[in-house]
């Protein structure tokens, strides 16, 4: 779900509520003005003709003056009411609770680096482009950017927040409906701005805890020979230069972490569904799918690719 019309948090719901009020009042104002315009056209309140340059009658003039002043008064009243409404919503959104789950998010051209904060550094979970959050618990995102300005936006959960180099920013919300919510970078950040999406999975606390526990462990080493060969391909064909896989020698942080790749719903920052076929296409030539992405093509033989995919599929 990916729409400000389908809120799944009290925060997004407050904004949607504000929007529907504004829409109702705004549409009425528009309608009144347009109806007044058509009535002005239909009226026969004066003669038409080249010699008729006289002012309107004094009575009409007084009436018009009174109407214009009245319209102005109503406009001011609506605007002041709107201002008050907006400030109440703004205050509610700003009042952050304490004891929130903290997720640190770093924007990269063109993917999202995710870290779950933990006082124990060895338990800090690092992942990419997909976040799990517990339903009913406030989650705080802390943002930073390593390159250009990005903007974090999951419309069903909250409004957006910019990630600006040299600045730290944050956003918090409580997901109150379990579900899968899509989000996307909202600030133009270069060639693949359009394909810089992410997924937020809101699930019950117990499921979330289970996921967190599973994600903290490294995947088991490959058991069958194809996957073991695939791991060697990963280490030797250049993949390990950029990516990390927990429990192996691949510990680079240029690209997204791949430790639990198969547990994610999408690859290439929300661009492709995470199937074996798509993964193969992506590895062979990412430039065809996301022209300009930092990941180079990998000219692998069919055997190598099959083995690599077999290995990647073990990263659950």
């Amino acid at each position: 779900m990916h729409s400000a019309f389908d809120p799944a948090s009290p925060q997004a719901r407050a904004i949607a509520h504000l929007w529907w009020w504004m829409f109702g009042v705004g549409a009425s104002v528009w309608l009144i003005v347009v109806v007044a315009m058509f009535l002005a056209l239909r009226g026969k309140r004066g003669e038409r003709g080249p010699d008729d340059l006289s002012h309107a009658s004094p009575e009409l003039r007084t009436r018009l003056e009174r109407t214009v002043k009245g319209a102005l008064f109503v406009t001011v009243l609506i605007l002041v009411g709107f201002l008050a409404f907006d400030f109440t919503v703004g205050r509610a959104l700003a009042a952050a609770p304490t004891k929130m789950l903290t997720i640190e998010l770093t924007g990269h051209q063109w993917w999202w680096e995710v870290q779950y904060a933990d006082t124990n550094p060895s338990r800090r979970l690092v992942t990419a482009n997909e976040m799990h959050v517990p339903v009913g618990r406030p989650v705080q995102f802390r943002f930073q950017s390593r390159d250009v300005i990005h903007s974090f936006w999951a419309p069903s959960l909250h409004g957006k927040r910019d990630l600006i180099p040299g600045y730290s920013s944050s956003l918090w919300f409580v997901a109150d409906t379990p579900g899968v919510y899509r989000g996307q970078c909202a600030e133009f950040c270069g060639l693949q701005h359009a394909k810089m999406a992410f997924v937020i999975r809101a699930e019950p606390q117990a499921d979330f805890d289970r996921w967190l526990e599973a994600s903290a462990a490294s995947p088991p080493p490959p058991s069958d020979s194809t996957a073991a060969y695939g791991q060697r391909v990963f280490m030797s064909a250049g993949c390990a230069v950029c990516h990390t896989i927990g429990g192996t020698q691949a510990q680079a942080t240029v690209g997204p972490v791949l430790t639990h790749l198969k547990s994610r719903m999408t690859i290439a920052a929300g661009t492709l569904t995470n199937t074996r076929e798509n993964l193969g296409r992506w590895v062979l030539n990412p430039q065809q799918i996301k022209p300009g992405t930092q990941m180079p093509p990998s000219p692998l033989s069919t055997v190598q690719l099959d083995a690599l995919l077999a290995y990647l599929e073990t990263l659950k």
């Binding site: 990916h2 729409s3 400000a4 904004i15 504000l18 929007w19 504004m22 705004g26 104002v29 528009w30 003005v33 315009m37 009535l39 002005a40 056209l41 009226g43 026969k44 309140r45 004066g46 038409r48 080249p50 008729d52 340059l53 002012h55 309107a56 003039r61 018009l64 109407t67 214009v68 319209a71 406009t75 605007l79 709107f82 201002l83 907006d86 400030f87 919503v89 959104l93 700003a94 051209q109 390159d147 250009v148 936006w153 419309p155 909250h158 409004g159 910019d162 600006i164 040299g166 600045y167 920013s169 996307q184 970078c185 909202a186 600030e187 133009f188 270069g190 359009a194 022209p291 300009g292």
Partner: protein
């Protein structure tokens, strides 16, 4: 305020043969000659402004073609018609063209053409400066479009946010092109502003005190002051900061070196928001004379409308942070800008209510210019209301940087800027060319345009709230954004068709002989007192004004002031408040130096992309031009105090 000339004898008339002799003498002395040299050196404000209007309209078409290409790419999900690199260049060139090369220049050009005619002057205050501004604009146009065709067009959006547009993330010359195109348009806008301010304050017809200035001229005056305060901000941002960051590593915006990435947004939007009103207020200024003419009523609430213009100009400088509500700016600071953004709706509301009241008291004649005014109300009010919505920080967090904003800004700029402008084209086309445009084709143009604009941009509100960010070259099918995008593309085709009809209409009109006469609509402004198209000297005799609607309120002939020399380009200088005759001034003749200096600016700023040495080089070349400019101007001795003026009616 009393008219200083009201008591003067008005029984003297001017003999027809004297008029004949005088007009011949004047047209000789105000002529810039013919041939290529004259074409390059002319300083006639009408010739220069017409060129500016035509070029800016060509830019509207160019920007429209870019928009059509983008709409074609977005018509269905995962379309592969245009790749991300081309697409980035297209939306950046589209925005840059529409804002800097179409909207602002065409609005000021309308002022540069009409302000002298509407205030009864023979010329702009600084004709050569006007030509200089025009040639700078031409440099910008050529530079941007050459770069587009050699695949070097800017690609970081029309507001070029750093660090993306900085040296690290945008190597090459694409962003340099953007920064310098902006520089040329800044120069061009500033020259226009200075000209409009001085012309309005010092060259009005005797008797046209401040409270008798036509509303269009008021709007132009207010906007000229806005340009004077807004353009230096973008000059600082693009020329002083971004260009030096890129050319000589100044690190203004690099946080690693103590720079600030958010600073750019403040400086840019301090210009960028007033820019919207620089486009919008002149358009509003065009509406009043159209409504007055076709309702045959003096506008209801002259003073409130003028005050609304001035108030809007002040508020416009206090809104810029509403473009930055998603950045980490403290909430308390943001709320101030929310309040200001909401308040600016009030003066605009005042103007619309006054126009409705004017129409209410009359029986409007639904000509094409009038239809466009109605289209303006229908479309713009929608954009104004979404503007108030976007002032809310909470709501803006959802809508910011999405297609909702794209919808809003096009409703405001097409509804609030282009629709009045198109109406104004139909209204003043006879004045420019001596020919009236076809009403039948005009009505087709109007309906297709209004329907097209609404079909294109209304669905974008929904798309934005459904999660579609702006500046995406494609989107995935599961997002469900396909159908509404297709509707928007169909709307874009409708707009293109309507603009084509307008061009056909203009070409067909130009093939006829001029037959419009001085005042085909029976309008009230001074510009309608002269022939269509106006002679090079504008007014045979300086008109004397006794009301806000000189052609309506003068029952016999328009009173004029005589006694000026017809053997040199003499213009009348009047006092700022009451427009009493003050002195005479000799206007300069045609000159090559404006073109030469504009080319020097071209060498300086375009060269500076490649080497900083072009800056001192360009300055050295400019010194020669400045010397030539100063040498050939009018002499200070030609200022003479005007003796007792005599107001006499003219039989013409």
């Amino acid at each position: 305020m009393t008219n200083p000339h009201a008591a003067l004898p008005a029984d003297v008339t001017i003999a027809p043969d004297e008029i004949e002799r005088e007009s011949r003498a004047l047209s000789t002395v105000w002529s810039d000659g013919s041939g290529l040299w004259a074409w390059l050196t002319t300083v006639d404000h009408k010739t220069v402004s017409k060129r500016l209007i035509v070029t800016a309209f060509l830019m509207f078409i160019a920007g429209g073609i870019e928009a059509a290409l983008m709409r074609a790419q977005l018509s269905r999900p995962e379309n592969t018609l245009i790749g991300p690199d081309r697409y980035s260049q297209l939306f950046t060139t589209h925005g840059t063209t529409m804002m800097f090369l179409f909207a602002v220049p065409i609005m000021t050009a309308m002022g540069l053409y009409f302000v002298p005619l509407m205030v009864g002057a023979r010329s702009l205050a600084f004709p050569r400066l006007n030509a200089f501004g025009f040639w700078n604009y031409v440099v910008a146009v050529v530079f941007l479009y050459v770069s587009l065709f050699v695949n070097t067009a800017p690609d970081t959006g029309w507001f070029a946010y750093v660090p993306l547009s900085g040296p690290q993330y945008s190597p090459g010359h694409r962003v340099d092109v953007w920064a310098q195109v902006v520089t040329f348009t800044e120069i061009s806008a500033l020259t226009a502003a200075v000209n409009i301010i001085v012309t309005t304050f010092k060259m009005r017809a005797p008797g046209m005190s401040l409270n008798r200035i036509p509303i269009f001229v008021w709007a132009q005056l207010v906007v000229a002051f806005m340009i004077v305060f807004a353009m230096p901000a973008v000059a600082t941002a693009s020329t002083l900061m971004l260009a030096t960051d890129r050319a000589v590593s100044m690190h203004w915006f690099n946080p690693a070196e103590g720079g600030d990435a958010l600073l750019w947004q403040h400086v840019f939007w301090f210009f960028g928001h007033p820019e919207v009103y620089i486009i919008f207020l002149p358009a509003l200024g065009m509406i009043t004379p159209i409504i007055e003419t076709f309702c045959r009523r003096k506008v209801f609430g002259y003073t409130p409308i003028v005050m609304a213009n001035i108030t809007t100009a002040f508020f416009a400088f206090g809104l810029w942070v509403h473009h930055m509500f998603a950045t980490p700016i403290p909430e308390l600071g943001q709320s101030l800008f929310t309040a200001a953004s909401i308040l600016i709706a009030i003066p605009t509301g005042v103007q619309i209510f006054c126009w409705l009241a004017t129409m209410w008291a009359s029986r409007p004649k639904l000509t094409v210019p009038m239809l466009f005014v109605l289209g303006f109300i229908f479309t713009f009010v929608n954009g104004g209301i979404t503007g108030v919505m976007l002032a809310s920080v909470a709501f803006d967090k959802q809508a910011h940087d999405t297609f909702f904003v794209v919808a809003h800004l096009h409703y405001v700029l097409l509804g609030g800027g282009v629709m009045p402008l198109l109406g104004a084209f139909y209204f003043w086309f006879p004045k420019f060319t001596g020919r009236v445009l076809s009403e039948r084709l005009g009505k087709w143009h109007f309906w297709l345009f209004v329907i097209g604009v609404n079909v294109t941009f209304f669905p974008m509100h929904i798309l934005g709230l459904q999660g579609m960010p702006r500046r995406v070259y494609t989107y995935l099918a599961p997002t469900g954004w396909g159908p509404l995008n297709l509707v928007a593309t169909i709307g874009a085709v409708t707009i293109a068709t309507s603009v084509l009809l307008f061009l056909v209409n203009a070409v067909m009109a130009m093939r006829r002989a001029p037959d419009a006469g001085p005042n085909p609509w029976g309008a009230s402004g001074l510009e309608w007192a002269v022939a269509s198209p106006p002679p090079n000297y504008n007014f045979l005799h300086a008109p004397v004004v006794e009301s806000r609607h000189p052609l309506w309120d003068t029952t016999v002939d328009l009173p004029v002031l005589t006694g000026f020399r017809s053997d040199r380009r003499e213009v009348l200088v009047t006092t700022t408040f009451d427009a009493r005759p003050d002195s005479r001034h000799e206007a300069p003749k045609g000159s090559i130096w404006p073109l030469y200096l504009a080319l020097c600016m071209g060498v300086l700023f375009i060269g500076s992309i490649f080497s900083p040495w072009f800056v001192p080089g360009g300055i050295a070349l400019s010194l020669l031009g400045l010397a030539g400019w100063g040498w050939t101007g009018s002499k200070p001795t030609s200022h003479e105090r005007v003796a007792t003026p005599a107001a006499v009616p003219e039989h013409a």
